[in-house]
């Protein structure tokens, strides 16, 4: 599904496309589909970021822009 919201800051992508909000060494925090805050489980060697409505969105194994 196409992303509607910035997964770094939760802003609607229509208003925001340059990703200046990205912070080094932060996992994604928002669901790209609904903009809701993700539950991020951070552990020593990885993380999983899950949306209550849309399920698992990101893990440490994928490359995230």
């Amino acid at each position: 599904m196409e992303a509607t919201y910035c997964h770094w800051c939760g802003t609607a992508l229509a208003e925001h496309s340059d990703r200046q909000c990205r912070r080094e060494l932060d996992p994604p925090r928002f669901c790209p589909q609904c903009g809701r805050r993700l539950r991020v489980k951070v552990h020593t060697a990885g993380f999983e970021a899950e949306c209550k409505n849309h399920g698992l969105q990101f893990t440490a194994d994928q490359s995230i822009d």
Binding site: C9, C21, E24, F30, A45
Partner: protein
């Protein structure tokens, strides 16, 4: 990374620097005390060292490294940490993205399942770590939380075979006793900053409450892990004051965090500490606390950038490997390679008393 927001740095020294001759003399005097007389520096002696010019910071770091080798040996202790209950904290620590008092992008999550905690401990051990710390974003544990922690600690020790540390906020005498009984190896409770600066950082509990919890940990024969967070706006004098206050609680371990300003928190726009300034204060904490396990903790990647190896030759003898509580660390392989290149063996440490 091209798309990282600009992070401001603090640049102006707040006190006049010593001349290079004065710095040399101050460093030589400290070497005599710590290496020949094998005694701690007084706080006045420490204060004199804090103002060496930037050009003398490598000399200060070299002394701190020699002191670390002499007092603690060359072993580096590796630890992994896990936020087992994230966000929604009722406290207002102004640096923290897990406080419910601020608008933070960190979503609160309840206590993780036992299987998740065990998997995290396994993963930590597989990286060569000897310590695994379960951290909870709470003021202090309620009965249900106590039961969960007290069930997890012996289980992790048995199933994974790693020392288990706990960080669960302010505790009572009875809770300290229970933690000791179930085998908590180290209890983490940070002073964070000097007593004289604390009310600028936290208003929902007092510095004295933190100090009391630290004392309870020691009174129940658990090792105390008592960390600091530098770069919140405290002065040089307050950092020296903090070293004196740490001496009073006798920690086995002192994690050194550098402020990584978090969006939504009151400290979101505070500047980062300059890399060389961070090395100066790592060295100062080693010179002030010669026998403690001085651990690299949060903020080191963004603060020190390419100078991370330098911290390990400036007094650091432990590190948190991999990710932190809500933020990510650099890859564990990079840290393990760094230790191998520095020819520092990995192992468990205890404070030399």
């Amino acid at each position: 990374m091209a798309d990282v927001p600009v992070m401001f740095r603090s640049t102006t020294p707040e006190r006049p620097r010593l001349s290079s001759a004065e710095a040399r003399e101050a460093i030589q005097n400290a070497a005599r005390a710590l290496l020949d007389e094998k005694r701690q520096l007084t706080l006045a002696e420490l204060d004199a060292l804090a103002d060496v010019p930037d050009a003398s910071v490598p000399a200060l770091a070299a002394l701190a490294h020699e002191v670390r080798l002499e007092w603690c040996g060359d072993t580096v202790e590796v630890e992994g940490i896990l936020s087992a209950k994230t966000g929604g904290c009722p406290e207002d620590c102004h640096f923290c993205s897990q406080s419910a008092k601020f608008e933070s992008p960190v979503q609160a999550t309840p206590f993780l399942d036992t299987a998740d905690v065990l998997a995290a401990a396994q993963e930590t051990k597989a990286l060569g770590a000897t310590e695994f710390c379960i951290v909870l974003a709470i003021r202090g544990p309620d009965e249900r939380t106590m039961d969960r922690i007290c069930e997890l600690v012996p289980l992790i020790e048995k199933e994974v075979g790693i020392n288990v540390a706990v960080s669960a906020g302010i505790i009572t005498e009875e809770q300290a006793k229970r933690f000791a009984e179930v085998g908590v190896h180290r209890y983490n409770h940070n002073l964070e900053t000097a007593e004289s600066f604390f009310d600028q950082v936290v208003t929902t509990h007092s510095w004295a409450e933190r100090f009391e919890t630290c004392q309870l940990v020691r009174a129940h024969n658990m090792e105390l892990c008592c960390g600091v967070l530098l770069g919140m706006g405290e002065t040089y004098e307050q950092r020296i004051e903090l070293i004196g206050q740490l001496r009073a609680v006798e920690p086995a371990e002192v994690p050194v965090n550098f402020l990584n300003p978090r969006p939504g928190t009151p400290f979101a726009s505070r500047p980062l500490i300059e890399p060389l300034e961070a090395i100066r204060w790592i060295a100062m904490f080693r010179l002030g606390l010669p026998s403690v396990i001085l651990r690299y903790a949060g903020g080191r990647e963004v603060t020190l950038r390419e100078l991370q190896a330098l911290g390990l030759t400036a007094g650091i003898n432990a590190l948190i490997v991999g990710n932190y509580l809500t933020t990510l660390g650099r890859s564990p392989d990079e840290d393990l390679q760094m230790l191998q290149d520095l020819q520092m063996p990995i192992g468990a440490l205890s404070k030399v008393l």
